[in-house]
């Protein structure tokens, strides 16, 4: 194929009308402060939602007739708090580090992919495992507890649904982690020194 000229399309690209908002340094300083406030508000909202969930567990702890159920709800509450904190910490999407932003694109993108892969790969450990004791305790009550005060009359059904959900989730997370790893490997190959 003969070399053809792509200058016209480059010229067209650069000539397109773009909106470049005038932005003074003082305005950027002001917006930077506002942005931090926005993060704080978002954190408060997330924490508020968490508080509502905990309130539900607290109601069970206070109102449930049997100590077993109270203990199970307390375990879910503690596990949920830990999972929520871990989720917040690991998935915080806009805590930009200027040194990261100025990395070459390849290392930056690989770093982001590695972060995503690690979240998928380890999610079971820090998100699902902490609430497992509480859920197991609650299920145990439904199997072996007082038939008059059990939460459900079909504990096997609930257990079956939980197991299916767990297996599907784990398979999904593993496949997403593998997908990220394939892309990381492909990018690593791109950056290998030329022979």
């Amino acid at each position: 194929m003969t070399e053809r000229n792509d200058d016209p399309i480059k010229a067209l690209w650069r000539a397109q009308s773009t909106e470049v908002p005038a932005m003074s340094v003082s305005y950027v300083r002001h917006r930077s402060g506002e942005l931090h406030r926005a993060f704080r508000i978002r954190n408060w909202l997330e924490q508020g939602a968490g508080v509502l969930g905990f309130a539900g567990c607290l109601v069970v702890i206070l109102m449930a007739p049997h100590p077993w159920v109270k203990a199970a709800a307390a375990l879910i509450l503690i596990g949920g708090a830990y999972s929520g904190w871990q989720w917040h910490r690991r998935t915080a999407s806009f805590r930009t580090d200027p040194s990261k932003s100025s990395e070459a694109s390849l290392s930056f993108y690989k770093h982001e992919l590695e972060r995503k892969r690690d979240i998928h790969r380890t999610l079971w450990r820090w998100y699902l495992l902490p609430i497992a004791p509480g859920v197991i305790a609650m299920l145990s009550w439904n199997f072996f507890g007082d038939p008059q005060t059990r939460g459900t009359s079909a504990p096997w059904g609930v257990l079956g649904m939980l197991v299916v959900w767990l297996v599907v989730s784990l398979i999904y997370e593993r496949s997403k982690a593998a997908q990220c790893q394939r892309e990381i490997d492909a990018l690593s190959a791109l950056a290998e020194p030329e022979s």
Partner: protein
């Protein structure tokens, strides 16, 4: 000024920004020289008008913060392109996670012009539309290469911004060039 002219790259590099005043001055200079380029990066990575404005502000804020640690080891242009492209890539990755849309590499992309439609003459607006559509299908890194190439950076400069080897950038550009020429001239090879 658009792109990185060889003069810009070899220019006496700015000294590390140790004072706030110096960071402010670099920020103002970056905006004056690369404002349109940043706007094009934003436009190519986000179609929604409001989200585009948000992304542009994010890039400006990050750029301003980044000058606190700018040590002059690369040119101002390389620094600006890195910050802008990396934030755009993060934005695309985040949006892709929400929309579950699959993106592809330059090698996998579908030809921009339907062969059955080859004879039709496209006007500039339609070409730009097709070009944006093509760019929107690309994974972040390939997207950056095409955008930097369109901004007239050469292979070595693109390699410096992206961190990819020169030979790989060359291969990618060869493919991009074919698509771009085809987009401009139609299937008349």
């Amino acid at each position: 000024m658009d792109g990185l002219s060889p003069d810009t790259v070899l220019d006496a590099l700015p000294r590390p920004a140790q004072t706030t005043d110096e960071a402010d001055r670099l920020f103002a200079r970056a905006l004056a020289e690369f404002g349109p380029a940043i706007a094009r990066i934003v436009g190519a990575n986000e179609a929604n008008r409001e989200l585009r404005a948000d992304l542009q502000q994010e890039i400006y804020l990050e750029l301003w913060r980044s000058f606190a640690i700018f040590d002059g080891r690369c040119s101002l242009g390389t620094w600006v392109y890195r910050v802008a492209h990396n934030l755009a890539a993060r934005h695309v990755t985040r949006r892709q996670r929400l929309s579950h849309r699959e993106l592809c590499n330059l090698e996998e992309i579908i030809e921009p012009i339907d062969p059955h439609d080859a004879a039709r003459q496209l006007d500039d607006e339609q070409r730009l539309g097709l070009l944006n559509k093509l760019i929107g299908q690309l994974k972040p890194l390939d997207r950056q290469i095409v955008l930097l190439y369109l901004d007239d950076l050469d292979t070595a400069q693109i390699s410096e911004v992206t961190g990819l080897s020169v030979s790989h950038v060359g291969v990618k550009i060869h493919r991009a060039k074919r698509l771009l020429v085809q987009l401009y001239e139609g299937h008349q090879s």
